[in-house]
């Protein structure tokens, strides 16, 4: 055990993991976090607490993580490289760990031009790969990036993201390998819609023996509407939405499009359960947290195992 978090335990035990996501509010109301947490509690093994996602200012992810803990959830504390230099990052890691955080996810972060402060200086002192490595060094070697010893090193279960679809495709597996060598413990992927390409990615990762070294959680986001599918296809960078998905949603009965979206997601989850090297699913039902119980139910991942 590296960190002893619930998520780590679930994965270690060989269970099919099921994680969720929770976006902190654009305000200081802790109840908002608690409300969302209610829907997730008992339905997921761990919940990602996003860090100023889409470069919009929100409640800090470590604070929201603490509220999540209080609400009975295990947070997966996200950290992006955009807003902090290496000093701030390390001190936040220390503080979060001190208050009970056990998982963290290392990300580059959306460019500040997208958000509500396009004039901001993007820090990017270190990149996500270097963040992974820094967290691992802090945990395993008990050293800060500058080399000094840490009195009580933070023992975090270290995650990162992976996009199996971005061009050049050939390079994707190597990128995964690089993250593994940087020290990542688990990977949550980008939302998957193009199953064919994903299968190819998984195959290549298995061939290189990578999925024995890391837990891969497949990213799933159910489509709420045809409009959302089209938006994801054309507007969201790195997203690969095949036309069949859009056609399938268009073919759904009136008022049943969201249902069809959930159905697609559940079919995916069923397949992931059987796919070699897939350790679980990361469900990103952002601003749709109230549907998580139903989705989890329909995906057949309930009840969550106790470990």
């Amino acid at each position: 055990m590296k960190a002893g978090s619930n998520l780590e335990k679930i994965l270690e035990a060989g269970h099919f993991a099921f994680t969720g996501e929770l976006g902190p509010p654009r305000g200081s109301n802790a109840d908002e976090v608690r409300e969302k947490a209610e829907f997730l509690k008992g339905n997921v093994d761990s919940v990602n607490i996003t860090d100023n996602q889409t470069a919009m200012v929100r409640m800090s992810s470590w604070a929201a993580s603490i509220i999540a803990i209080q609400a009975g959830l295990e947070p997966n504390y996200q950290m992006v490289c955009r807003d902090r230099n290496r000093l701030a990052m390390q001190s936040d890691i220390l503080g979060a760990y001190a208050l009970g955080v056990r998982n963290m996810l290392c990300l580059s972060g959306d460019h500040q031009q997208f958000g509500d402060h396009p004039q901001a200086l993007g820090v990017f002192d270190i990149d996500s790969m270097q963040l992974i490595n820094m967290a691992k060094t802090m945990r395993d070697e008990g050293k800060f990036l500058g080399g000094a010893d840490i009195e009580e090193p933070p023992k975090l279960f270290i995650g990162a993201a992976s996009n199996p679809f971005a061009e050049p495709f050939d390079w994707r597996v190597h990128r995964l390998a690089k993250k593994i060598s940087a020290g990542v413990d688990f990977i949550q992927t980008q939302c998957i819609y193009n199953m064919e390409k994903f299968r190819e990615f998984v195959k290549r990762a298995n061939d290189m023996g990578l999925l024995e070294k890391v837990y891969l959680l497949a990213g799933v986001t159910p489509m709420k509407s045809v409009g959302m599918a089209k938006y994801m296809k054309s507007k969201v960078p790195g997203m690969d939405v095949p036309d069949e998905i859009i056609k399938r949603l268009q073919g759904a009965e009136k008022g049943k499009v969201a249902d069809e979206g959930i159905k697609i997601a559940c079919e995916q989850i069923e397949e992931f359960k059987e796919l070699k090297g897939i350790a679980g699913v990361h469900l990103m039902a952002i601003e749709w947290e109230h549907m998580v119980p139903e989705i989890a139910e329909r995906a057949g991942v309930l009840p969550r195992p106790e470990v």
């Binding site: 290496r86 460019h111 990017f124 971005a166 060598s181 960078p237 790195g238």
Partner: protein
């Protein structure tokens, strides 16, 4: 080459509003080549200011001169005899030149007429692109000659972020993804191994004022 762009006339006017006698000094090197601060631009700015101030009923006595380089002491000497009697000096050189001028004439306010933009290349008449951010630790050797610091919007050292989008950067479609370019070029050269390995955190030297003494040289007493 250092690329600069001239400040808007209103901003320059505002900087100069309290001075009646101004010397406008151009620089004959980088800013001349990038069409910002050579003889021609000095003349144009003088004429513009002369006219604008007349219209404002606040005439200014402005004279223009251009020296070879404002970042070389020897060339600044030519100005020594000229600056006498001027209430302010306007410099059309890069930030380095402006500071060097200010340092030489500490009694006279030296004001910038241009914004120094970047180190870049000339793509066509009046069209320049940034190519270097003088980070002090060049990685171009492993990145196929594409600078990840300058060309990647996030300055990433270990490959692209999740926003890479069919060869474009997430900030806009027209901006190529630096890491996509790096991959393509290295793949062609058969050197993908250059970026397989983890590159540890950067030692950011450009955060402090730097001094450089070439090997075999010494700082003069």
């Amino acid at each position: 080459m250092i690329v600069a762009k001239r400040k808007p006339i209103d901003e320059i006017k505002d900087l100069l509003k309290d001075y009646k006698k101004v010397l406008n000094v151009g620089c004959g090197t980088c800013v001349a080549v990038c069409l910002t601060g050579g003889e021609k631009e000095v003349d144009v700015l003088c004429a513009e200011l002369d006219m604008a101030r007349k219209m404002d009923d606040n005439p200014v006595d402005i004279e223009g001169t251009t020296i070879e380089r404002q970042c070389d002491r020897e060339y600044l000497e030519a100005l020594d005899s000229k600056v006498e009697g001027y209430e302010a000096i306007l410099s059309m050189a890069c930030g380095a030149g402006i500071q060097f001028l200010a340092e030489r004439y500490p009694e006279i306010p030296v004001l910038p007429a241009v914004d120094t933009t970047f180190i870049g290349v000339n793509q066509g008449v009046g069209w320049y692109e940034e190519r270097c951010r003088s980070c002090s630790s060049c990685v171009l050797g492993m990145t196929g000659g594409v600078c990840p610091v300058t060309m990647c919007a996030k300055g990433l050292y270990n490959g692209p972020c999740g926003g890479t989008n069919d060869g474009s950067c997430e900030i806009k479609k027209e901006q190529p993804c630096a890491w996509y370019m790096i991959y393509e070029r290295l793949e062609k050269q058969g050197r993908l191994d250059c970026i397989i390995n983890f590159k540890p955190a950067q030692n950011w030297e450009n955060q402090v004022p730097r001094t450089l003494i070439q090997p075999g040289y010494e700082k003069p007493e």
